[in-house]
């Protein structure tokens, strides 16, 4: 086991996949000479050259579309958006082209590309730069959406995403890039897409969480919950949001009968709302209490740090939510 940062894990995944397959290239703003706005592509241009690591102009709609077009003719592009706030400009390409070409052509073409970058809050970046937008992609049939929460998940799933024949939206987090954790040192560490992971085993309540919220809100709450409050917590991290491993969640709820969901995005019609609906629809009789869902407060993100901290789910919020579904005061 190596202990590396989330950033290093992504960097390793990119290095390994680009070495393995010469059809893989990386394109995005500042990915080359600048080594990436968040240094995820550190050293890649030095190793693979300008031919395979391409600094693009600021033109999200069209460089994402360029990646999709290259994928349609058999290449395996990794297109980096500096943040998913900017990827909104390229939604037409992802929704109308990447997601649909295979279907509209009756199976003649595929789109093996990866759209990746940070999603969600970065800390004091204010309204236009702090949005968690996974819901835009999870909604669309034809896309796959992955949101890793640890360096190990990031490495194994990015490698899988690059090898996947379908368009994959791979959503990271600026706040996770420095987070260090263990990553297996296998020569070729690849994780399956569409399989959830039990981050922490328990028996009294199921917490479903993904992305940054695992380390930001849920993990720090565990000590207090399992110690002071005496509640045994099981944490299920879907890792892939589409296709969702609902069975893993239901299996846990069948054991615990109580569920809390913690997500970073806004509450209305979010991915978490869909997951909760599915658990209610298919596991109604398994539940002993209504599901507690923690999301961002339903406002644009303000600049002031104290307000931002209040808006994003915190470990204290998680403790209260768990106590609530356990009917504890």
């Amino acid at each position: 086991m190596a202990v590396i940062t989330f950033r290093e894990a992504l960097n390793q995944a990119l290095m390994e996949e680009m070495e393995r397959d010469d059809q893989v290239f990386l394109m995005g703003e500042e990915v080359g000479q600048y080594h990436g706005a968040y240094k995820v592509s550190q050293g890649l241009m030095d190793k693979f050259g300008e031919h395979r690591v391409i600094d693009s102009p600021i033109t999200e709609n069209s460089f994402v579309g360029l990646g999709i077009g290259a994928a349609n003719v058999g290449m395996r592009p990794v297109i980096e958006v500096m943040t998913f706030n900017f990827a909104i400009l390229s939604l037409d390409q992802m929704v109308n082209n990447a997601a649909k070409l295979r279907y509209m052509s009756g199976g003649q073409f595929s789109c093996p590309m990866v759209l990746r970058g940070p999603n969600g809050a970065g800390g004091s970046l204010a309204a236009q730069h702090s949005q968690a937008l996974e819901q835009q992609y999870v909604h669309i049939p034809g896309l796959k959406v992955i949101m890793p929460s640890t360096p190990g998940d990031a490495k194994g799933l990015l490698k899988a995403a690059i090898r996947d024949p379908d368009p994959v939206v791979f959503m990271e987090s600026e706040k996770l890039y420095n987070y260090k954790d263990e990553v297996p040192e296998d020569e070729d560490y690849v994780l399956p897409i569409g399989k959830a992971h039990v981050k922490h085993a328990g028996t009294d309540v199921t917490i479903v969480t993904y992305g940054r919220m695992w380390t930001h809100a849920v993990k720090p709450a565990l000590e207090r919950l399992e110690g002071e409050e005496g509640i045994s917590v099981e944490v299920i991290d879907p890792r892939t949001l589409r296709p969702l491993d609902l069975d893993a969640i239901l299996k846990s709820v069948a054991k615990t009968h109580r569920m809390v969901l913690v997500e970073e995005s806004w509450p209305q019609a979010s991915v978490g709302a869909w997951i909760c609906e599915q658990v209610y629809a298919k596991g109604f009789d398994l539940l002993d209490a209504p599901i507690e869902r923690l999301s961002h407060l339903d406002v644009p993100m303000p600049y002031a740090r104290n307000l931002e901290d209040e808006i994003i789910p915190s470990p204290e919020d998680v403790v209260e939510a768990v106590k609530k579904v356990c009917y504890k005061r």
Binding site: G69, A70, N72, Q93, Y103, G106, G142, L250, A281
Partner: protein, 359 residues
């Protein structure tokens, strides 16, 4: 009609033909095929054999035929708009499969799942029929990128309408193509109108060919889109330049669509019948015949027309007889790899929970 023939007449003697006789005859046959096919498609639409959107290519045939004869079919990547029935025919999709697709049948080229705007042929590198105005321009740019990356020697040919030249994707794509000298030829079929809005009412600079040199260092050339040979000659030069690393080219093909924007557009509110008649005097098929009268004697044309019309009738009958797609086709081709993607027996809201699974 005679003025066209007189002024455009070229020598019909074999030694002086600009292209081999078979090629000229093939160009004529293909244009006539598109014409007759589209006329029948329009008729079938009015007879309610199918519905939805239907954009006819009548009048613009010379653009497609001129470019296609200049390109390397099966190697070069071709992207176009929703006005793509002609492209489907020219890139080898059998007429009966095209008709069946329009009629929403399982034997259609996209298995009934694409429709009028979404024809494709992977083998011929015909990358489709796209519904979003300008949405395919980055895709074509990506194919050009791939061709350069892999040293394929292929050119990406990107057709679009006059109105698409105002889309952000046009400017973003041409900027990258010009910057990286991608092997791409961008072709605007300027039929004067973007749906019902004339170019002069939509473009600050309505002379489209002028818009690329200054901004992207991409040469812009205006071509008479009603003359298949002029289109051929201009395309040949453009493709050569793009293919040899000289960078992309933008061609503005001035042409005209005789019918409305789509079958829902009678085209009476924004243009006059006189204007349509004026352009019909420049008909591309008549023009080619007039340029080489010895190659296209009356009885040859009459017989060919009869053959083509019969083929189109066969296609209609085939489409009428073909079955609609199976219900199971709803769930196929959503992904290339997603074993267990919900099939017809598992609808998310009707999924019965199997408690036994989790004991």
């Amino acid at each position: 009609m005679s003025s066209t023939k007189e002024s455009a007449k070229r020598s019909s003697r074999t030694a002086e033909l600009p292209l081999p006789e078979e090629k000229l005859k093939e160009m004529h046959r293909q244009m006539l095929m598109i014409r007759r096919f589209e006329e029948k498609v329009g008729q079938q639409y009015q007879l309610k054999s199918f519905s939805g959107f239907c954009h006819l290519y009548i009048g613009q045939e010379a653009v497609l035929i001129g470019v296609t004869h200049a390109q390397e079919i099966g190697k070069d990547y071709v992207f176009t708009t929703y006005r793509n029935h002609g492209h489907a025919l020219v890139f080898g999709i059998p007429p009966k499969e095209i008709m069946a697709e329009l009629f929403m049948k399982a034997d259609g080229s996209s298995k009934g799942k694409g429709g009028s705007m979404h024809f494709y042929d992977g083998k011929q590198h015909y990358m489709g029929g796209n519904g979003i105005v300008g949405g395919h321009i980055p895709l074509a740019t990506g194919a050009a990128f791939a061709s350069k990356y892999r040293k394929e020697g292929a050119v990406a040919i990107c057709y679009m309408g006059d109105a698409a030249v105002n889309q952000g994707t046009f400017h973003e794509s041409l900027n990258m193509a010009g910057l990286w000298k991608l092997p791409a030829v961008y072709i605007a079929e300027n039929n004067i109108y973007g749906m019902g809005t004339a170019v002069s009412r939509a473009c600050a600079e309505p002379e489209l060919y002028k818009r690329t040199e200054g901004a992207y260092r991409i040469p812009g050339i205006r071509v008479n889109g009603m003359d298949a040979l002029e289109v051929y000659e201009a395309s040949k030069k453009a493709l050569e330049r793009a293919r040899s690393g000289g960078g992309p080219v933008f061609l503005e093909m001035v042409c005209y669509r005789y019918r409305g924007h789509s079958m829902s557009d009678p085209a009476t509110t924004y243009r006059t019948k006189d204007e349509v008649s004026e352009w019909q005097m420049k008909d591309p098929i008549e023009r080619l015949r007039g340029q080489f009268p010895d190659l296209f004697p009356e009885d040859y044309v009459k017989n060919l027309d009869k053959e083509i019309k019969a083929e189109v009738e066969d296609a209609i009958q085939f489409a009428k007889d073909a079955p609609f797609p199976e219900q199971s086709e709803i769930w196929t081709h959503v992904y290339a790899d997603y074993p267990g993607y919900p099939g017809p027996e598992v609808n998310p809201n009707k999924y019965a929970f199997d408690y036994a699974k989790f004991k």
